[in-house]
């Protein structure tokens, strides 16, 4: 079991680094789908969740559906529909981004070390992964030009937060209504972003955020 969760976490880290390095939108979307699936699976393989209730298994399935398929599928459709250029167009280059990702891992390791919470061993890695995912998500948000990559960044950030929640809290997984609400929010959020993206594309003929800098003082 331990090995599986570790492997999953490593896969998550890999997906993060890949997303930082990828220069194709389609690839990025696929990576996100992959990451969603992996992240959804992680709680399943964590040690203390052995005695999982039926409800939580059900919930995990729903989450897998939403994170792994619905959301990426939605973005996938959006990318296809709006026929944008495939290039990701970073503000900071791919190599530098990957390098930054590595630094994020280092920082995360440092933070996780300094947190002074007696986490179970495997949770340390979970923590590192979570923080890296979160920071990389924010990094994507800040360094990518295309609006759609920002959605992906936001998604990645949410994944990170979800992982942190998994790592830290025992209670959060007991109230599925609440969990489901969060998930629903994110889903609707992504949908609305998609709709706006669609509108932006038809209004500007592009989804470059450089075009979205007209409102200023």
């Amino acid at each position: 079991m331990i090995q599986i969760s570790d492997a999953l976490l490593s896969l998550t880290l890999l997906s993060v680094l890949l997303s930082l390095a990828s220069n194709r939108l389609m690839a990025l979307v696929k990576i996100m789908a992959f990451q969603g699936i992996v992240v959804s699976l992680i709680p399943l393989f964590l040690e203390h969740n052995d005695g999982m209730a039926i409800g939580s298994i059900l919930f995990l399935q729903v989450m897998l559906l939403i994170k792994g398929f619905l959301i990426p599928g939605f973005i996938f459709m959006a990318v296809q529909k709006i026929k944008i250029k495939r290039e990701v167009e970073p503000i900071i280059g791919y190599h530098a981004s990957v390098f930054a990702g590595l630094i994020f891992i280092l920082i995360s390791a440092y933070i996780a070390d300094r947190l002074h919470i007696a986490l179970p061993d495997e949770h340390v890695l979970l923590m590192i992964t979570a923080i890296t995912t979160l920071t990389s998500g924010l990094f994507l948000l800040m360094t990518r030009r295309k609006a759609i990559t920002q959605v992906i960044g936001y998604l990645m950030m949410e994944n990170g937060i979800y992982l942190i929640g998994t790592a830290l809290a025992k209670q959060t997984h007991t109230q599925f209504v609440v969990e489901f609400g969060v998930l629903l929010d994110i889903l609707v959020g992504i949908m609305i972003m998609g709709i706006i993206l669609h509108n932006i594309n038809s209004a500007f003929d592009d989804v470059d955020t450089a075009l979205l800098g007209q409102l200023k003082d």
């Binding site: 503000i91 924010l138 948000l141 800040m142 360094t143 920002q150 955020t209 979205l212 800098g213 007209q214 409102l215 200023k216 003082d217």
Partner: protein, 652 residues
């Protein structure tokens, strides 16, 4: 007290009625003016009876918002400051009947009457307020209503600018007041004015300084005066009259009230007020001399008179801290007397200026001239006002200055700093007096005497009889107070009777002097009439010729050759040059046979220039640069969030 508030209710009702009758222009004006005047006169009778009643200090308090009490209290000082409110208001209202004659502006006039009513009520409430919140409330209503009255003619760009400036100074000043009040509250936990005396000595000084700035910005203290010369020309003349004659005195009231509430604070306060008064007075009159816009000039003259009043207050305060009862008493009494007198003659002058503006369509005295021949009533009353405001006997302005001089001379026997300060105060009063004479001879001499400089000035005719009547009443008042000052001085003394600092002082011997002042004035008038008769007699059956003015050899004099106001004041203004920025524009003579050339003198305002240069411009430039924050770039915005987060996490 209840009845006093009822009289305010009547005034307010007058304002409401003006709004209700907006469709009938003349009727609206009649009803509004009649109701408000009735309220004012009722209030005046109550005030007068209160001033001479043996007991004072009635209080009323109402619960407000569960948290505050709205408390009103009558004491002699409050009653005294009610006098100008109730006297000047009906007079300028009568004036406004003809002045606001434009039927097309019916709605605006109605609103202006409504706001006028609010202004009068709020001024009365300011004076009656006896706790922090009540005072602040009335103060803010006063500022707001007077702002709208200033922008009555908002179509004119400069009026809007003036209103804007006034708005900022009013609100900025109010903020200083709030800070002062809040500071008191923070030390006592009480909102009542009585709590002011409980705070510690150093805090008292700070409270007073904050309040002094706050009230000073309303009163027109140098360098917080710059809204005055802008706002007064902008407002309609009857509004300028009430603002300059009455409203700015509320600032004086506030300074005086806070001083009294603090009870025997440090000597520093009195010295500060005295020095501020000297600077304000002298620079006010110098700027008045330097300006040619008649209403602007009058506004600067208000600054000057605020300076004189502050000198009086300062003398009184120094007297209190030196335990010199006579000095304290006459200083305060002189200040009060001058408040009263100034409210009358300054209103008179503004109304006169309004009549001139109404008829000749210009405020620039270099465009006027010879008006006295075509506007005799306005001219004569304006002459009386000019003499009075220059502080010359036998008119009212002298009485206040006499009291202040008298008080100040009591301080000459002091030592060290109080002595030096009183000496400087006396000297600055003397200089102010001289310059005021120069200033008002300029206004009257150039605007009303000589030959008209423009066609408009030549075609001006007397304004309405109603307007004239109001001015005549005011002019007569100036003369009566000057010749028979005793009852009015008793008023001022009555205003001081509730002041525990000085109410043990026996002022009865002073009335001997006042009676002699009165006799001297009478003697002078008798002598004047005597010599006048002699002159009449000498001219009996004499040949009276008339011809053009002797041109000193120049055979074709034109009206444009008359001395201008700019040249008249130039030498005197130049004397104060470092404190008065003068710009001379001279195109020079370029050819052997000189063609057209210009020579112009522009006088700025030191305070305004400095505000522009050191405050407004750098601030605006800084803010302009900081606009970069809202860059429009979404990535940057997200970075802000992260940055805020990181900074906060470092606080852990």
């Amino acid at each position: 007290m209840n009845t006093l508030l009822l009289s305010l209710a009547v005034i307010f009702a007058g304002g409401i009625l003006a709004l209700l009758f907006v469709r009938q222009f003349t009727l609206m004006k009649l009803i509004a003016i009649a109701t408000m005047s009735a309220g004012c006169l009722w209030g005046l009778s109550l005030t007068l009876s209160g001033l001479f009643a043996p007991t004072a200090g009635m209080e009323i308090s109402v619960e407000w918002l569960h948290l505050f009490t709205l408390a009103f209290k009558v004491d002699s000082l409050a009653l005294f400051f009610l006098l100008p409110v109730f006297i000047i208001s009906p007079l300028v209202l009568f004036y406004s009947f003809q002045y606001l004659g434009n039927k097309n502006k019916a709605v605006r006039s109605a609103v202006s009457y409504f706001l006028f009513a609010i202004l009068v009520c709020s001024m009365a409430l300011v004076v009656l307020a006896s706790n922090i919140i009540t005072f602040a409330l009335a103060w803010e209503i006063m500022s707001l209503s007077s702002f709208f009255l200033v922008v009555y003619d908002y179509e004119v760009q400069s009026n809007r600018r003036a209103g804007y400036l006034y708005f900022i100074f009013a609100q900025g000043g109010a903020m200083f007041l709030f800070a002062a009040f809040a500071l008191v509250y923070s030390h006592t936990g009480l909102m009542d004015f009585a709590a002011f005396s409980q705070i510690a000595e150093p805090v008292k000084l700070l409270v007073f300084i904050l309040a002094f700035i706050g009230f000073g910005s309303k009163a027109g203290l140098f360098p917080l005066h710059i809204w005055l010369p802008q706002a007064h020309p902008a407002a309609p003349s009857h509004i300028s009259a009430i603002m300059s004659g009455v409203m700015i005195k509320m600032g004086i009231y506030g300074i005086f009230r806070v001083y009294l509430l603090l009870e025997a604070p440090t000597p520093l306060i009195g010295r500060m007020v005295l020095i501020a008064g000297m600077i304000t007075g002298v620079l006010g009159v110098v700027y008045a001399l330097a300006n040619q816009d008649i209403k602007k000039l009058l506004a600067y003259s208000s600054v000057e008179n605020i300076g004189i009043i502050l000198i009086g207050l300062g003398i009184g305060m120094v007297g209190v801290s030196e335990q010199n009862q006579a000095m304290a008493f006459f200083g305060f009494a002189g200040a009060l007397m001058h408040v009263f007198n100034h409210s009358i003659f300054k209103s008179l002058l503004f109304l006169g200026a309004g009549a001139v503006l109404h008829q000749a369509k210009t405020k620039d005295i270099d465009q006027l001239g010879g008006l006295i021949k075509r506007m005799p009533t306005t001219g004569k009353t304006f002459l009386v006002g000019s003499v009075a405001i220059s502080g010359l006997p036998p008119f009212s302005g002298f009485i206040g200055e006499f009291l202040i001089y008298y008080g100040a001379f009591q301080g000459v026997s002091e030592h060290r700093i109080p002595f030096v300060l009183t000496v400087l105060a006396i000297l600055s009063l003397a200089v102010i007096g001289g310059l005021a004479t120069a200033c008002f001879t300029k206004v009257f001499g150039l605007a009303f005497l000589g030959e008209p400089r423009t066609r408009q000035a030549a075609q001006a005719t007397e304004a309405g009889a109603g307007m004239g009547l109001v001015m005549v009443v005011m002019a007569v008042a100036c003369l009566v107070i000057g010749v028979l000052p005793e009852p009015f001085i008793r008023l001022a003394f009555a205003g001081l009777k509730d002041l525990s600092l000085i109410n043990t002082f026996d002022f009865s011997p002073f009335f001997v002097i006042i009676r002699q002042v009165s006799q001297t004035a009478t003697l002078f008038i008798a002598l004047f009439l005597g010599i006048g008769l002699l002159r009449k007699f000498l001219y009996l059956k004499k040949e009276i010729g008339s011809s053009g003015t002797w041109g000193c050899g120049f055979t074709q004099p034109t009206v444009r050759m008359q001395y201008t106001g700019t040249s008249y004041g130039d030498e005197m203004v130049d004397f104060f040059r470092p404190y008065v920025p003068i710009k001379r524009i001279y195109t020079g003579i370029t050819a052997i046979f000189p063609g057209r050339t210009t020579w112009d003198i522009q006088v700025g305002d030191l305070a305004e220039t400095y505000y522009q240069q050191w405050l407004a411009k750098p601030l605006l430039r800084l803010l302009e640069r900081l606009h970069w924050i809202q860059h429009g770039n979404i990535q940057l915005y997200i970075a802000y969030i992260i940055l805020a987060l990181i900074v906060l996490l470092f606080l852990l």
